[in-house]
């Protein structure tokens, strides 16, 4: 944990001058045992386009892209994601939260194809959302502001 004496990044840039770097985008990264199978699942059910590396061998890395978002996959041979879903009071434990538009149409197209942890409903903070568990056990929330 940080100590109280640590210099904050805002202090650093105000003392040293210079432009605060801009954080442009973020990709979630999931360790998985089988990258090729994961790419196929995301392509088939969630409309991603996937790329595996190295291209001609057993993939050790993958990138999946759709619209403005990216998910990266890293291979761990016999990886099994721990199931944390029920460890939290008052709601499940999530791995990624995807903001989107057109969630009602999207829910209709995926609800009979994938494992739905929570059906489409309006959360108390106003967003429409539903929860999917992927083939490796990652819990993904899809959300659209009401």
């Amino acid at each position: 944990m940080s100590s109280c004496l640590a210099k904050s990044i805002n202090e650093y840039f105000s003392l040293e001058g210079g432009v605060m770097p801009e954080l442009k985008s973020l990709a979630s990264c999931f360790p998985v045992a089988d990258i090729a199978q994961t790419l196929r699942w995301y392509e088939e059910h969630l409309g991603f386009t996937g790329y595996g590396y190295p291209p001609d061998e057993l993939y050790t890395f993958g990138i999946m892209i759709r619209d403005d978002i990216e998910i990266m996959l890293q291979r761990i041979g016999d990886y099994q994601k721990p199931d944390l879903y029920d460890l939290r009071d008052g709601g499940g434990v999530w791995d990624a939260y995807i903001r989107m538009q057109g969630i009602k149409e999207f829910y209709e197209t995926v609800k009979n194809q994938v494992e739905i942890m929570k059906p489409l409903e309006k959360a108390f903070y106003g967003a429409w959302q539903f929860e999917v568990r992927d083939l490796n056990g990652y819990v993904i929330v899809f959300s659209e502001p009401a």
């Binding site: 944990m1 904050s8 979630s28 050790t60 999530w94 057109g102 999207f106």
Partner: protein, 130 residues
């Protein structure tokens, strides 16, 4: 006819034992603002945000993230963040945070460094030079 479904952004969600301490670390070292829920401690949830990116925290009591970094050649990451001026960010934080891999150029061209946050989540900061 409603809008065509379109994904707008992805937010990684980290399970942590102490949401407030994690918020402070991200504020101090990486300049993230935060919106916790509820408004008073102990927080159950928080959204951290800066520029174009967000990270969510969910409180899981006594949670300890399993250590997986060494299980894969090349490390195991939790979030990959693209930015401008990666060298400036590196210089600003390298003596204040746990650096897993120092700033270096990868074979695929990106300049990257890796930070471990106080809960063990590994963040990669990356810039592709023109």
């Amino acid at each position: 006819m409603d809008k065509m479904p379109e994904y707008a952004s992805i937010v990684p969600v980290f399970s942590v034992a102490d949401v407030g301490a994690t918020m402070n670390w991200y504020q101090t070292h990486l300049g993230f603002a935060s919106e916790p829920f509820p408004a008073q401690e102990p927080y159950l949830f928080a959204i951290l945000f800066r520029d174009h990116i967000e990270i969510m925290l969910q409180r899981v009591e006594n949670y300890q993230k399993p250590e997986t970094y060494g299980v894969r050649a090349g490390g195991v990451w939790d979030a990959y963040i693209r930015l401008s001026q990666v060298k400036e960010l590196y210089d600003a934080i390298k003596d204040e945070v746990t650096i897993i891999k120092p700033l270096r150029q990868q074979p695929y061209g990106a300049w990257e460094f890796e930070v471990k946050d106080p809960n063990g989540y590994v963040l990669v900061f990356s810039e592709v030079n023109q």
